[in-house]
Symmetry: C2
Subunit: 401 residues, 2 copies
Amino acid sequence: MALIVQKFGGTSVANTERIFNVADIVTKTAAAGNQVVVVVSAQGDTTDDFIEKAGEITDRAPAREMDVLLSAGEQISMALLAMAIDKLGFHATSLTGWQAGIQTDLSYGAARIRKIEPRRIRSLLERKRIVIVAGFQGLNSHDSITTLGRGGSDTTAVAIAAALGADLCQIYTDVDGVYTADPRVVPGAKKLDEITYDEMLELATLGAQVLHNRSVEMAKKYNIDLEVISSLTRNPGTKVKEVTSVEKMMISGVACDKDVARIAVMGIPDEPGKAFRLFSLLSAHNINIDIILQSIGRDNTRDISFTVARGQLDETVKLIEENKERLHFTEWSSEAAIAKLSIVGAGMTSTPGVAAKMFEALSDAQVNIRMISTSEIKISVLINEEDAQRAMRAVHDKFFG
Amino acid sequence: MALIVQKFGGTSVANTERIFNVADIVTKTAAAGNQVVVVVSAQGDTTDDFIEKAGEITDRAPAREMDVLLSAGEQISMALLAMAIDKLGFHATSLTGWQAGIQTDLSYGAARIRKIEPRRIRSLLERKRIVIVAGFQGLNSHDSITTLGRGGSDTTAVAIAAALGADLCQIYTDVDGVYTADPRVVPGAKKLDEITYDEMLELATLGAQVLHNRSVEMAKKYNIDLEVISSLTRNPGTKVKEVTSVEKMMISGVACDKDVARIAVMGIPDEPGKAFRLFSLLSAHNINIDIILQSIGRDNTRDISFTVARGQLDETVKLIEENKERLHFTEWSSEAAIAKLSIVGAGMTSTPGVAAKMFEALSDAQVNIRMISTSEIKISVLINEEDAQRAMRAVHDKFFG
């Protein structure tokens, strides 16, 4: 007998048929002798409908009340799922975030889980119930409802798995698992059987939307065995764990992020603190910087290039323009039509020549590299957006073809 | 400065425009220097939508999970109302049933409020907030969500008014107040300025759907000044209180209930316990008896006539047939096409001739009276259903014309 946490996203519970599909998965797991805790998101478009309703009333809804509204979504789906499980002859009890003991910090809309008090879940499991918990929500120390923001339900599932010491946390979704590249772009992409937390983190950051960063970080911290699996095909998915047991592949995936814009600020005096001044200005305005590259310019000056999310480009440029005097640069340029192509792999630390192999593939495909950035298990290059698909296929072929 | 509880039903918050209408009423009350607690129902058809969703999954939803589902309805409307109030420049905080301290007994679907712990509401009022509370819901001693069943939001409002010692509890609805008769049937019906709890109770029982019995009973018990008022016209409504201050009208209203069927059981031996045997049988099957009339039949036997809700007629007849031997009667008959016409008035206790006046009106209108039943402040007659409208107008004209 194992204790398994199963998380189902909004598309998995979008309608009656899908809800019964989930109930079937859950009850089969229970019938096999396991204790099961289910974490559900709101049904399909419920959250969007709520946001639209709120938008009809105000374009500046108080964050606390927005969370009250949104959290009703999981309350609906968890009750419906409990009914479906009951219909199949099993006993289920649904719990809201606060009933499940999920305590968060005070920030609305993107609260962080502070602690889970799993007494009630445990007591229900001991009484042979299937426990359904509302994902995405918790309660803060003022006894007000909070929501966890993007990836919230995944985070709820992993946090509950950690609090209960679960044997496995399965994240059911509408894809089969984690692929070596986006199968819609790279036809030869292969599903990975296993991947390490670190690799998954890099892939998540790079725009592979299978799992959210926060949940992977938490899984890594508490060493929770994760599995990404399709609720539709139910084929074995991808396991995410500390160390993968199969012979290490050099790289585990190729990812491409098009939500990128590049800015170059040139002619900054080569004096201590100048770069700091630029980035602290941007940080004060909540602009997230990704890749940074500093090169030596002419006449004892430096050029700094960096990337931001494309939606923040205009604001960034405006800030730089407005602070031209303070920042002491001579000119700037920006570019939106670029993409960031990355390869990720825990194996690359012990394998020389991975970068060279990637650059060779890009060169053969006549893709121009604009910037390069590396971490221990990742190599990213900035390329023109129009080259993105071709580059992705070429790099994927080189490593997996 | 007064402390006022205002309750708004589902039609009053059905869409964005209506929500802003409610926000306008609430904020004007607050701007006049009052402390305001608002109790809201779920929006328009939300509850029906939820019931339909559950019905797609199962025709026997677990009662606990049905309450989890339904209670999401008020959570949606209370958040939207809080946003609208915020948009108008006032501060509002919404509370679910459990956050508002509403503790109920253990029955799902029709829970009764056991206690209200109003600490949090008070603390918010002290901090100059408008407090919005989800109607219809509470929390039981197992920390599970319950709903209060029909008339639940009215009951929530009155219970909160009692717990806070509020100066007034206003029940906003889509009618102007309590009328001397249903204005759709009797064109000359007049709105009452005041009515006593007892009169309101009789009228509510008789099918005037303005206020639910439970809320009136509670208002009477705790002596809460109630006001039934329209959220659309905002004209002064009807005040419900212990003693009305205007010169007492003889009767306060005429009501007609068509959800009635009559059954006669004849030839029951005139021995002790025979009638008891009949009614204990029906009671054991949850059949509610309204009017009972016993008359002496032939040969030392008795005939017993009584009324039940029309939907329970078939079951009642079946039970009587099946138990013919045990009950020792000779024959039975039943009739569905009848109606119960009632006049209600605290004044009739001190005014002789009220019944005679009613019977005169019916006689003049050539309406045949089938059965008569009286209480301290009510006279009910059973008539043919086809006579109902004519009878109602005739009686109303006699007293109010």
